[in-house]
Amino acid sequence: MGFGWSQFGSRKGENPGRYLDDVYRYAAMRIGQVEDAEDIAIEVVQALPNPCNREDLRLYMLGMARRKVANWYRSYKPTVPLLEADQSIRFDHQTDQISMVRDVLQGLSDDHREVLVLKYYFGMTSAEIGTVMERSSEAVDSLLQRARASFESDWVALNSDPVKL
């Protein structure tokens, strides 16, 4: 109702809401749990100063999310996960593949998972990843190389056919 309408791209200054989804997806891919990822994204936005005039707001918010993910892991108690409703009713190829990607990512070390997400989902440069992960660009490159190898190795192991192209 009411406004019933939105226009994206007409942004003046940095609106934290722009990056809410980024923070949420980052957290979801790091911890593999949607509800807790929502909590983290909400906490990040709530903790921002008001007004927030940072030029690097996106990286700043992801950095905040990173620390909250670390806290989450510290207090995490493993439970038996319930299948997401949409995953339990669809078993087509795409869903199957998505589940496998999730499993492979969750099987990686936290650093590897994080660097892959930042690089291949957020499309960040090594310098930007370094800002979020508090590492040098060189260290990020090296980490990324190892993470790719781990991902590939686990992916191949999970699939019956090798996927080298």
Partner: protein
């Protein structure tokens, strides 16, 4: 396994994560919260004092709906009128009615965006004064869920109404006696906050515990308006008989059922005109002013996909790209309109120079970018895809497919976007004369939308005149802009 493949797999996984179901009520979104509580309505929310942009209140709309959807426990009916406290005096911006769970809200934040909304029986009618039709759509399950609990007394409702400001703000409440009003005993509920000099006073009828009037005020949180103070005065009356016609979901205008409209479009656009890297082009229309509108259903919205970025023609016409538009019932990106189970987005290009002669055949270039945020992903080695297009032509101001979506000219700020984009482009070319002319047009459009909001393009115009060495003209404009800004005139 190459990088492209890893990127694809991780991208697919990321996109498969369901959208957020909850949204923060935060310091930031409290800006919106202020808005929703301020306006407690719909259209008015578009341009509350401290929001110069009309795109922000998306969430506020949804929140507002939740609030108004709740039943009032201790009253049969309510009527209220709210006024913004502006430097020039009170400005009536909202007239609301409630009876037996139904709401009618007449918002007049300013003429250009005046609207009426009626919520009744799980349906919502929306009537923008300047649109030639009204839209009816069901209230969603999420809203209905909100309606099923936490109903309010009228006083609770007013307390929420005045609760502007940050949710983290520490507030203290104080009750004191007040002189009688119309012979009835009254008490005052004062609420103060420790930020932004927030204060609210609600006068309450002692015998009925129903509010009589409320006032609240606070410093304007926008940095550019830091010296301003803004507030709202509201007067309430209760339990008066209200005519049933106030809540009738009818209109003399054409009524569009939003869900039917979407299905209609899906039927029309079943076969895409073209598909490029997962982006389906559904419609390409040229309006009489030369603007090209490209309706798409991209595979993804938050990750880069090939999307139209440049337009050229054989005449060498220069085009500027305007901001993308993503229709939504709420204006909330999490509940955007979908077609064919995909997000629906419209890209627009306009000739840089008005009245340019445009060829019938145009070449559209694609580059990888996100829709939201709209950022190009520069990959110099990657050759952009191109598509030769022959737009359909309409003499209307906007393409016809907006109507089945329940979106009309009142909701599309075409001329604002157009002149803003032109101004920016001329500035980039250091063509200060044309940039000044474009910003002048932009200021004019904004002035006729929300008067004071023209201050910003006026300053841009002034800056162009400075570049042209016309300092006197620039100073004159700057003074005018400052006066307009301070006035907050609607």
């Amino acid at each position: 396994m190459n990088e492209k493949e890893i990127k694809q797999l991780i991208g697919d996984y990321a996109e498969s994560i369901p959208p957020m179901q909850r949204r923060p009520i935060s310091r930031h979104s409290n800006f919106k919260r202020k808005l929703e509580l301020f306006t407690l309505t719909v259209g008015g929310l578009a341009t509350m004092g401290w929001f110069t942009i009309v795109f922000l209140p998306a969430r506020a709309t949804a929140g507002t709906v939740r609030l108004v959807s709740q039943a009032l426990l201790d009253t049969r009916s309510m009527e209220y009128t709210s006024y913004l406290k502006l430097p020039g005096g009170l400005h009536q911006y909202l007239h609301g009615y409630y009876e037996n769970g139904a709401w009618r809200l007449e918002a007049q934040m300013h003429t250009a965006m005046s609207n009426l909304s009626i919520l009744k029986d799980g349906q919502r009618l929306m009537d923008w004064e300047r649109n030639p039709f009204v839209t009816i759509r069901p209230i969603t399950s999420e809203e209905i869920e909100e309606m099923s609990h936490d109903n309010l007394t009228a006083l609770d409702y007013v307390k929420k109404f005045v609760m502007a400001g940050s949710s983290t703000m520490v507030r203290t409440a104080h009750i004191s006696d007040h002189e009688p009003i119309n012979g009835r005993p009254v008490y005052a509920l004062s609420i103060r906050g420790d930020q932004e000099h927030y204060e609210a006073i609600i006068l309450v009828d002692k015998l009925t515990n129903l509010p009589i009037q409320s006032d609240f005020g606070m410093d304007d949180p926008r940095p550019e308006f830091k010296t301003s103070r803004t507030g709202v005065h509201t007067e309430y009356s209760f339990n008066k008989p209200l005519p049933a016609s106030l809540f009738a979901l009818t209109s003399k205008k054409k009524i569009i059922q939003a869900e039917v409209g979407l299905k209609h479009l899906e039927g029309q656009w079943k076969k895409p005109i073209a598909s490029i890297g997962g982006t389906d082009i559904r419609n390409i229309t040229q309006t009489a002013d030369g603007m090209i509108w490209i309706a798409t259903t991209p595979n993804r919205i938050f990750t880069p996909v090939p999307l139209p970025t440049h337009l050229t023609d054989a005449h060498g016409t220069q085009f500027v790209r305007l901001n993308d538009i993503v229709p939504s019932w709420y204006g909330d990106d999490q509940r955007a309109t979908t077609l064919f189970d995909k997000r629906f987005a419209i890209m627009r290009f306009a000739p840089l120079y008005p009245h340019a002669k445009i060829a019938e055949e145009l070449i559209l270039e694609f580059e990888s970018r996100k829709i939201y945020p709209d950022e190009l992903e520069h990959k110099p080695k990657e050759r952009p895809a191109t598509l030769v297009i022959h737009p359909a032509f309409t003499t209307a101001a906007i393409p016809g497919y907006f109507e089945p979506l329940g979106i009309g000219p009142a909701q599309i700020f075409k001329n604002q976007d157009l002149w803003k984009a032109r101004g920016k482009e001329f500035e980039a070319k250091q063509d200060w004369k044309n940039a000044a002319a474009a910003y002048e047009q932009y200021a004019d459009v904004r002035y006729h939308w929300v008067k004071y909001s023209a201050w910003e393009p006026m300053l841009k115009e002034a800056s162009c005149y400075r570049k042209l060495g016309q300092a006197e003209k620039a100073v004159e404009l700057e003074k005018k802009a400052e006066a307009l800004k301070v006035s907050l005139e609607r």
